[in-house]
Symmetry: C2
Subunit: 196 residues, 2 copies
DNA sequence: CACACCGTAGACAGACCAGTCTGGTGTAAT
DNA sequence: ATTACACCAGACTGGTCTGTCTACGGTGTG
């Protein structure tokens, strides 16, 4: 009577997703270090046993949280691939999304940068999740510039990343409008050079 | 026999400075939230009583740490004022310092951005110290662009700040060399426009 | 029905944290 | 010698944190 236990066949459990949704919200708005598991558990309306059944530790949940954010970004870029005809349109789509994010209410900076600020050891799984995301992101942007025929797509991607990170930090800590407009100017300068 | 207790006349205590020096090192390299007071106390070779004599709480010490970093930045800009003849030279002096910082060993990003990532409440004294620093910094850069005769010094300062914050984040989390060169390109573009 | 699995409910341990308190030592000026 | 002060030494409190534990209830399937 060895059970098959087809986990995938069973309906998706709500508790696991509820925990992750709560963690995503609290981790992003208040910081992964500040928010404790007790708070996530109570706001998720689950119990500790359930929590630790799905996430073996808080650090593991933080990694899953970042992986979820990474997944969202990848899905967004994939949607641009199907909705846009040219690499330049895709690039502008990314910029539009970033510039919209930084002036949106409830913006609290880049979740990866914020998480990394609280884990200084580069070998820690959290930092590795951050590095994996940033590596993928940089490569994707570089590919777009290369697709546009940019002479130095690697440099252009670095320029793009610099502006993005700066806008996220500036909008979070200082003036969102100023960071927003400065981001658009910086990107425009990079795009202007790609045509030259 | 009411004592005069002329605190200022007494030789400066070493313990207080030792505590701050230790806190500066640990807070910057490992994060203000990760490092506990016990660690600062033991590495400073002082006792808890001495620690709490000079710093009423850990949060107060964090604020003093940031104020010290702010003071260093102000002293540096003041030194540029005396050593440089033109606003453009001063601006280039700032850029040189930033670009040197990001590729220097032991660089861990902007201490203010890192500290702010762990205090999300804008009303918290730590966040206010961060805001005070950034406001002063932005105004100083804007003054330099204005002194150069830039048509829109406020925008140029935003552009500068964007590049600076981006370089700090990128160098800390990813590729210091890439962030370094991207920073120099971004600043050069802004300076090119100031002449136009 | 019996079983497997979902989830609830909350006590509990062990570690770590910030911050307070008592008492003692060395030194320099009065 | 007495007073004042900087500092040492470390126990202690009260709180919070992560993570483990036991015990029970509901539900759909074979």
């Amino acid at each position: 009577m060895t059970t098959l236990t087809p986990d995938a066949v069973r309906p998706a459990t709500h508790a696991k997703l509820r925990i992750l949704a709560t963690a995503d919200r609290l981790f992003y708005t208040e910081g992964v270090h500040t928010v404790g598991v007790d708070r996530i558990i109570s706001e998720s309306k689950v119990t500790k046993a359930t929590f630790y059944k799905y996430y073996r530790s808080k650090d593991a949940l933080i990694v899953v949280y970042l992986q979820g954010r990474d997944r969202m970004a990848r899905d967004f870029l994939a949607s641009l691939d199907t909705n846009c005809d040219t690499p330049e349109q895709r690039l502008r789509g990314v910029v539009n999304e970033i510039s919209a994010q930084v002036i949106r209410g409830g913006f609290h900076g880049c979740p990866f940068i914020n998480a990394a600020a609280q884990f200084t050891d580069p070998a820690h799984p959290v930092r590795q999740a951050v590095s994996a995301h940033r590596d993928w992101y940089g490569r994707s942007i570089e590919d777009m510039f290369r697709g546009m025929g940019h002479a130095r797509p690697g440099d252009a991607a670095d320029d793009f990343f610099l502006a993005r990170d700066g806008a996220f930090a500036g909008a979070n800590l200082g003036d969102p409008i100023g960071a927003h407009t400065a981001l658009l100017r910086a990107i425009q300068r990079v795009l202007d050079e790609s045509g030259a």
